[in-house]
Subunit: 320 residues, 2 copies
């Protein structure tokens, strides 16, 4: 198995001008779960039944491109969200400045395409098209997320579309690109894509649930952050969709409150409990999980497929 | 001959979410000289002796990619430079906001790669590599330009390296990519590249000269803007390199002055005159021009080649 952290560490950023490359090195060295390149590699292993080291070498540049691309989106998102901390360290625009985060972020996107250009030529056009489509989806999802802040009516369907674009298409394409380079048939490509898409959706909904119902001891950040920020999560949208007039008015009243944080979190959680939105969201999450797991039957059955099954199950049971 | 403005107008930005695509439409509709796609198409015409409509169709997506890419750099540069006006219209970050300019700019870079993905498959890997190399050069050049602001010692060589990256590699690659897709031999590819590189350098030095010595009636903007902003131009760097201790002290004294604009422009221009920096820069510009024109002998001689010759000469004699 390729050690993805070691491969990322081997990328050379000791180049001039330092002001451009040091923020890239800093960002890529700050860790993260490396979910996207790992998925690409597991997808490839699944297709090759864990064999064929050449295929894995062919997949590696695309896997790295996905991680570099993901980190580019974080660098620019942090500027746009004015986020000050990422993975326990100062964000680039805080440590340096906004202009550095913009320009080094741009260069990181270009670096992703440089890695992608190493995909074997016969497979390059298809991979490039998928990658472009994915990158577009992420920008569109980010814009939808911004638009939602100012919209009074957001449906669960709108929300699912937004998180599909913002989160899931990257996981879905990581799976599909990894599998395709390793020689997946078109049925397998589609199964890999759908697996990534649906675990991405399940993951995001679980994220929303944990923000309210996570265990403060294991969650890693403050409970109720989304409630304080009036973030349009699966929980809030479901609550607004299912509440009667009176409860909805009560909920909207709390949304307008920006002062009494603790009371707001407690009150909104109580409304969520009354409306059983957690259970409603868990149903959606489990549907997505089932759709993801069903894809695995269409793939070769081996250690990699088993790992994909375990990853999906860990996702539902995770604490942070 | 393909009408590049018509082709740009045919690109469809009437898509959702509008907040992402409207700023792209706005930017691409704001005109500009379309130098880069035009160079790509002329290079292709030169190689095909003006024939072979298929080759031109093959070149068009790459030509459009170059223009979209160029406009992406302008959108992000305007944020970084806090520029409020571009081509007589409000910049995107003024008309919308910084976040919009960042995100729509990112999407524009991705759109450039989408157009590039339409390059005929056998030529895609090479074109993608050149495009990536060019995009990297432009980010590096932009960072060097930022770094120069804080450096006391910048040599003419440093400056030439910076403008080569920031401006010339895009023109050079426009020529090379256009020619390559149209079937240029490797000798022709190199000649096209060098032509673009050297007219780019000549163009930038002429830009620096016109800012001080242009005719206020025809120049289009205020004379002396670079002097007021202490911009490290070819003129200033040459002056600092060639001045004796006394003149250098006088020049540095004026650089520290940020109040008396008219007097500063007059005084610095007088120092430039005394040191004959205009003439020194004109020598460099003419050397670059000669290097550019010499490349044309290595290319098929036809109407397109003649147009390249005329473009180079117009460049030296331009008034704005």
């Amino acid at each position: 198995m390729i050690d993805i952290n070691k491969e990322i560490a081997r990328l050379d950023w000791n180049k001039e001008p330092k002001g451009l490359y040091e923020p890239i090195a800093y960002t890529l060295a700050s860790g993260g779960k490396r979910v996207r390149p790992t998925l690409a590699l597991i997808a490839a292993e699944c297709i090759t039944n864990g064999g064929l080291i050449n295929s894995m070498d062919d997949v590696l540049p695309a896997a790295l491109a996905l991680e570099v691309f993901h980190n580019f989106t974080l660098m620019h998102d942090d500027v746009m969200d004015r986020a000050t901390v990422r993975r326990g360290r100062e964000t680039v625009h805080v440590k340096w400045n906004d202009n550095t985060a913009i320009l080094s972020g741009d260069q990181m996107l270009i670096e992703a395409y440089k890695l992608l250009a190493k995909v074997p030529a016969p497979k390059l056009p298809q991979v490039l098209n998928w990658f472009n489509e994915m990158a577009t989806g992420i920008c569109e999802g980010q814009q939808m997320d911004v638009d939602f802040e100012h919209m009074s009516q957001v449906t669960v369907d709108d929300y699912m579309k937004m998180i599909e674009l913002k989160t899931s298409v990257l996981l879905a394409n990581a799976m599909r690109i990894g599998g395709y380079i390793a020689g997946a048939t078109s049925v397998q490509q589609e199964a890999l894509y759908q697996y990534g898409l649906h675990i991405g959706l399940a993951f995001q909904i679980q994220d929303d649930i944990l923000d309210v119902y996570g265990d403060p001891k294991t969650f890693g950040k403050a409970i109720g952050g989304d409630i304080c920020a009036n973030k349009k999560t699966a929980l809030l949208i479901t609550a607004l969709e299912t509440a009667d007039a009176e409860t909805k008015a009560e909920l909207l009243q709390w949304l307008m409150d920006t002062e009494k944080k603790e009371e707001k979190i407690a009150a909104v959680t109580k409304i969520y409990n009354r409306l059983s939105v957690r259970e409603a969201c868990e149903v959606i999450m489990e549907q997505e999980m089932a759709l993801a797991l069903a894809q695995l039957d269409k793939l070769p059955q081996n250690e990699a497929t088993e790992r994909l099954r375990v990853m999906a199950e860990q996702l539902v049971n995770r604490k942070n």
